[in-house]
């Protein structure tokens, strides 16, 4: 059953790639990356392609979704997750190429509001988040599975406000989806990465969660064991180099 399923997923993903508008060169690596890396990784891929290399194909989604695809046999070459746990998960299934796993980036968590909102809410233990929400909901990635949500929940637990707001959440598919809800004004507040907040002109940062309120946000990168792509390793090396990390730094990420 599992292998049929895997083959079906492979076939579907292959079909999608074949039909996708982006004409993929025969040796262009396929990179699955957490959605918060959208702008920065695209920029890195552009620079990489500008030096004459095959342009990597990028697929962004929540790390949990991507881990599922890899587990089901997606023909990807590189995987960049937004937390160690999903990488550990794949490691435990022996799906990673040995010695290719490196901690690449770090990030911070921000509390955001629509740009026109005037809310002022210093973040500290017991802060009145529920009151600030009123009848509205807090938009964040699914705290049960998506890294941004897990970090967010940990921070709220640490600050002793989780119990007050846990029933008032919108569990978005990803941090980016949560960002979109706040941009639209459908949610008065949201928790996303600080890099997400910087990427959008329609939200403002209300506060930054203290780094000690959650596990350090680490983005590991690894090559997948099933990868047969010769360019994949070269691209991975580029990303973990000084030049690569500088690109991410420009978008607000911190290096590891």
């Amino acid at each position: 059953m599992a292998s049929h399923y895997r083959r079906l997923i492979c076939a579907c993903i292959y079909l999608m790639l074949v039909c996708s508008g982006a004409a993929r060169a025969a040796d262009a690596p396929l990179v699955l990356a957490a959605s918060s890396l959208q702008e920065s990784l695209t920029a890195a891929a552009n620079i990489w392609a500008a030096s004459g290399n095959p342009r990597p194909v990028l697929s962004f989604a929540a790390s949990s979704v991507l881990a599922r695809q890899v587990e089901a046999g997606a023909p990807a070459d590189l995987f960049i997750a937004a937390d160690e746990q999903w990488m550990d998960y794949l490691d435990s299934k022996r799906l990673l190429a040995p010695r290719s796993r490196v901690a690449l980036l770090s990030n911070r968590l921000a509390l955001i509001a629509p740009r026109t909102s005037k809310v002022s809410l210093p973040i500290r233990s017991g802060f009145p988040l529920a009151q600030a929400l009123g009848n509205g909901r807090l938009a964040m990635a699914d705290p049960d599975a998506v890294p941004a949500g897990k970090y967010g929940k940990a921070a709220l637990v640490h600050l002793k406000v989780w119990a007050h707001v846990s029933r008032q959440l919108v569990r978005a598919d990803s941090a980016r989806a949560a960002l979109a809800l706040v941009e639209r004004g459908e949610a008065p507040l949201g928790i996303v990465y600080i890099t997400d907040a910087r990427a959008s002109a329609r939200v403002r940062i209300v506060g930054i969660f203290p780094a000690n309120s959650h596990m350090p946000i680490i983005y590991p990168i690894a090559r997948l064991a099933s990868s047969r792509n010769r360019e994949a390793e070269a691209f991975r090396r580029f990303l973990i180099s000084h030049a690569g990390k500088a690109i991410f730094a420009r978008h607000g990420f911190m290096a590891r």
Binding site: R68, R171, D173, L181, R184, E186
Partner: protein
């Protein structure tokens, strides 16, 4: 995931969606079946739109109009203090819009099938047009109305794209069966829940279809049609 909560929510959303769109669907079906006016083709196209638009687009349009920052949403909020966002009513609205074209089609067919000469006969017997409608047209359209209702219910039970785009995934409020399956699928190792939810979904659809069959059978037997070959 609380499976019984998901099922009950799905049933609530679908039944409300079906009941709310029933009169509107019938009105539209009647106008399209019997009306003769300029712009009838446009109305027909407009009603069929949710059938051909990608569901995500429909959901996004609902968001634009009925979201808290949209024109209708803002009006409802300020005048009635009512909102569709992140509430089961939003899920019901999305389901109703998606189900409407199917319901209209089924009902329109059965209204068109009502023999207008029977209506004429009723007029000669002294019935006003209103009485003709309620005593002849409506009862004879009932099979189509029921078929439309069942179709609408089934479509609502399966509604996903518009719902998740419009009101997201809120357990207890908008996490209907299809959305729950989608969420469970996103977690590696969620096959167990997915299987349970899928089997439930199939069973419910099956029951709905059986119910519609039984209803159709009963209304035919009552008229003595099973004696007529």
């Amino acid at each position: 995931m609380d499976i019984s909560q998901i099922i009950l929510l799905s049933l609530k959303v679908s039944i409300v969606a079906m009941l709310a769109s029933l009169p509107i669907a019938f009105l539209l079906a009647y106008v399209l079946a019997r009306g003769r006016f300029a712009g009838k083709i446009l109305l027909d196209a407009l009603v069929s739109l949710p059938l051909v638009l990608p569901p995500v687009v429909t959901g996004w349009l609902l968001l634009l109009a009925f979201g808290n920052t949209g024109p209708v949403g803002r009006l409802l909020n300020t005048t009635l203090g009512f909102t569709f966002m992140f509430r089961w009513t939003g899920a019901a609205l999305a389901a109703a819009i998606m189900a409407l074209p199917l319901m209209v089609r089924a009902m329109r067919l059965s209204i068109e099938a009502v023999d207008r000469r029977l209506e004429g006969a009723a007029r000669t017997l002294g019935a006003s047009p209103t009485r003709v409608f309620f005593s002849i047209t409506l009862p004879l359209s009932v099979p189509g109305i029921l078929a439309g209702a069942v179709l609408g219910f089934a479509r609502s039970m399966g509604e996903f794209g518009a719902t998740i785009t419009f009101v997201s995934n809120i357990p207890g409020e908008t996490q209907t069966l299809p959305i729950a399956i989608h969420a469970a699928l996103q977690n590696p190792g969620g096959e167990g829940i997915v299987t349970q939810l899928t089997l439930t979904s199939v069973a419910l659809s099956f029951c709905a279809l059986l119910a519609s069959e039984v209803l159709a059978r009963r209304s035919a037997v009552n008229k003595g049609h099973d004696h007529v070959l």
